[in-house]
Symmetry: C2
Subunit: 411 residues, 2 copies
Amino acid sequence: MNLRNTADQAFVRETNLSLVLRLIHNQSPVSRAQMAGITGLNKSTVSSLVDELIERRLVHETGSNSGGAGRPATLLEINPQAGSIIGVELGVDFVSVAVTDVLGNILWRKREDARQEDGQEKMINQTLQIVKEAITAGKRKNYHFMGIGLSTPGTVDVDKGLLIFAPNLHWHNVPFVRIFSEQAKLKVFVENDANAAAIAEHLFGTARQCQDFLFVFAGVGIGGGLFLNGKLYRGRNGYAGEIGHSPIMAEPSQTVCHCGNRGCWETYANQYSIIQRIQARLEVRRSSIIPKLMADQNAPLSIPLIKQAADAGDREAIDSFTEAGHAMGQGFAGLINIFNPERIILGGPLSMAGEYLLPAIKETVALHALPEINKQVEILLSPFGPDASLIGAIAIVVDDLLAHPAKVERR
Amino acid sequence: MNLRNTADQAFVRETNLSLVLRLIHNQSPVSRAQMAGITGLNKSTVSSLVDELIERRLVHETGSNSGGAGRPATLLEINPQAGSIIGVELGVDFVSVAVTDVLGNILWRKREDARQEDGQEKMINQTLQIVKEAITAGKRKNYHFMGIGLSTPGTVDVDKGLLIFAPNLHWHNVPFVRIFSEQAKLKVFVENDANAAAIAEHLFGTARQCQDFLFVFAGVGIGGGLFLNGKLYRGRNGYAGEIGHSPIMAEPSQTVCHCGNRGCWETYANQYSIIQRIQARLEVRRSSIIPKLMADQNAPLSIPLIKQAADAGDREAIDSFTEAGHAMGQGFAGLINIFNPERIILGGPLSMAGEYLLPAIKETVALHALPEINKQVEILLSPFGPDASLIGAIAIVVDDLLAHPAKVERR
DNA sequence: AATTAGTATGTTGGAGCAACAAACTAATTA
DNA sequence: TAATTAGTTTGTTGCTCCAACATACTAATT
């Protein structure tokens, strides 16, 4: 039982190096003196740390700031040429790959449909193919790749780099890190999709300074990324965050959840539930423009289509979103009472209808969360929309970089 | 915004000192060499750390262990004479004070009924009086007091030492730390009762090595202490853990919760709900021995009394506990899905009926929690029963001691 | 335009202190 | 006596901190 919660001087250096780098990452541009003030570190210590970060090409000087009296400050920023990251999002029926810089700016991307019925091997090979494409495209532009991040539905053993189990894909024990690092000769990280999205919000999104927030991933199901006490909480075995299966809504007539129970929160608030609501409404009323949209586009009922109808002012569409929002709000209220978070961020496919869902969510939360707790909670939309998990895949690599800057070679 | 997540040599020393002390605290007796093996620290470093702990009288050598070949190890233990702790539990209608050693062994205790209707000042003075009594009793026995811990219902600002708001007591902004430290000239700590109980389980109870567990405090309401990633999670403003108000059970005919909503989990599983169940049953059937017990003892319906009936085999009592257990199980299942904890520990007044509740809880959890997640979760009774929060008050002092051993003076 | 004062930034070199490494002594068993 | 394991001693490395210093600018005055 080697717990290794021990500290030594190398740890001190790594901690401070990481602290300064994170500070530059989300307060840039900053000067050495400012950082000394913020962190409480000595000026000379900050200088030494910054020197090292510059040597490792993670940071560079960029102009100076001559405001008031005194010597003007030299401003520091993350070096955009520090390197590039490859992010891979594995969906149930698609694969998405992106290349970004260290700040999450997308430089290249590609998305392909995938059929998990074709089998695990084929889908993984397809993914590897796109990754190789990204690498050759990057080499042509002289990118220096620093790592690959992979986000996947299901439970992940982060340390072993293993997908333990993904119910939607029917996959068990897939050694992603081994597979991808063998092929690409790069450091590889794997993480659950909702968790990855939460880290993305923390690094690049709406939760930059936030110590305690929840990311709610709404789509086929409702999953959560729990960011608590300044870090991701994964639970004992990495299963934490199955917020959609609070089983308390025990009205026996309700739909059976795919988990086998009745009355799970997510059966009232996932994308299926919205489609069902619409179908039920269309059977009764005929005033909606949705049937026409479906016919015109020769497309089945889907969230984007319903959103389109809502945008055109369609009552049935708007009301269905509102109903789903109320159901979501019930769940959010419970989460707020349990976690007292600073923020809750809604992402995933359903978040594209956020403008219709959010007001309903907030309304229900105001009714059902304990007022004292709810007072300061912000409920926000993810700025990444459907790309939340893809940016998440990038973010897990960047997060490792920010945590261990000394792993980057001096050049 | 001085976040001070910085590290320096003092921090290294404190970390390692604390690590070694914690190791001795829950693995004792251990030798220096063993600890070097477990922690990965250098033998000489461990020796230096142990020397300092001995100088501070926190640890002492105790015999030696001549097992196999080689020089026998000198065994180390926490020094029971390191000092004594005063714990204060503030209840809604009682005050309890205990004196223990550093290992939580009770040396002295006293409990008095209190009436919050008499007002805040009177109740606090009554408490201070008992604390003074404890101190004089201790001085007679030459105890060296190291601090006072106070656990209270409601929301606590731990850093400011302030009770922010306790709905049951109707108290607002009580500066407990200031009040008690002025009177007793000792370091004082305040914490919410469920949180304190969770720390007690971590240090002295059923969650010793546990990084991720939940303490469920069941009584008038249902509160929770969330111990995640190896430390207590308090949320943004210290309100985290209001697990009893998940508002999803929306059957309109149900009892209104004291929070104003309908269908809160706790209205189905708190001690009131059990009493109501019994009352409803007694109106229909007359076979129960409960009315006789009430008459004999000239006492109202209460959990201890129902427990007594259950022990005597009374069907109505047992069935009521079972029903409440099933309701609790619904909530537990949700918590298991959300947190994937290693353990859930049931404590508080209701836990005295644990032998009847636990089987029903486990049954419902098995039905409603996701099987993958539930597989390894242990649901246990707190060993402290009704004293969970009192021991908790002790624990918050001991925890500070273990975290910052260098604050203890060399003698 | 030149001078001087004032202020804030960032650098330098030494002090203090932590863990570490290696060589040692100590105490036991086979 | 040899082997083995426990714990100590001595010297090394590398970290932050501190105080003094050099640098670069603004502002006021001559």
